[in-house]
């Protein structure tokens, strides 16, 4: 059992068999599955239209692949800093956790990336940009949350759930980058 489960045992008397550690984690997974259907439908529609179009432009002739590849790399870096934040919190080091949450926030909160994502292929990239914006707000609130909780273990579960969301945003970008920029 994770430390968070013992801390929250008073408010989570029953365990879910899917995620025995917390109901919150199951809730986030279900939300992400629904959100993934949203992205899946957008990408599938894009794929369907493109496959049947005779004069679709070649994306890498129009879009800046190298810059986008660098941004993709940064997004992967931010996933690593996110898991590092969780790892340090698990070891009881709250200040290192906050530091890595701060890195995660700034790697992706950069305006350079935002304008690139927002201006090209607006529907899908805009939808993704909206998720990144939501993630940035989520991370800011988590830095505050980790700071205010009495013990590092008390915020472990919440940081893990935040990580699920953030990695999902990264995962979706892996798909968007491949299907809309490379293919």
């Amino acid at each position: 059992m994770s430390p968070s489960a013992s801390v929250h045992s008073a408010v989570e008397p029953a365990e879910t068999p899917l995620t025995p550690e917390s109901w919150g984690k199951l809730g986030m997974w279900i939300f992400l599955a629904g959100d993934a259907v949203g992205f899946g439908v957008l990408l599938a529609s894009y794929g369907g239209m493109r496959a049947t179009s005779a004069d679709w432009p070649s994306p890498y002739a129009v879009l800046g692949i190298n810059l986008t590849a660098a941004m993709t790399f940064l997004l992967i870096c931010s996933s690593v800093t996110m898991v590092k934040a969780l790892e340090w919190l698990g070891k009881g080091d709250r200040s290192k956790c906050r530091m890595f949450l701060f890195f995660t926030l700034h790697i992706n909160g950069n305006p350079w990336g935002a304008s690139l994502f927002g201006t090209s292929f607006f529907l899908v990239t805009g939808f993704h940009g909206l998720h990144v914006t939501g993630g940035v707000i989520y991370l800011v609130s988590m830095i505050r949350y980790v700071t205010n909780r009495p013990a590092p273990a008390a915020s472990y579960n919440a940081v893990e759930i935040t990580g699920l969301y953030w990695h999902f945003v990264d995962l979706v970008w892996i798909m968007v980058f491949t299907f809309m920029y490379l293919i």
Binding site: P17, A44, A51, S79, L164
Partner: protein, 109 residues
Amino acid sequence: MAGAEHKHPNYMAIFWYLAILTVIEIAVIYAPLNKTTIVVLLCALALGKAALVAMYFMHLRFETGTLGLVAITPLMIATLLVFLLLPDGFAVAKRTVGVKAAVSAPAKH
């Protein structure tokens, strides 16, 4: 913390795998291969990267199998949707090809 050992895999190794796969993706689009091979390779690489993120960063590898089914369902729905859309797309393309040819052809008087 019980179970902490298996819950934190070597994140840096995963990071390097992801970085290397990204470089391979970029290399593939400039490789002298036919379009179908490139598309298949890019899809496989993207799925591999997504699987690494889900399995290790999102800890799906250490969760129950049923949660894995929850996670994989959207991918299956999206894949199915592509094939559902293709017949319509091809039908529209077939009809509009004739229209486009008529529009672009010089008018005969």
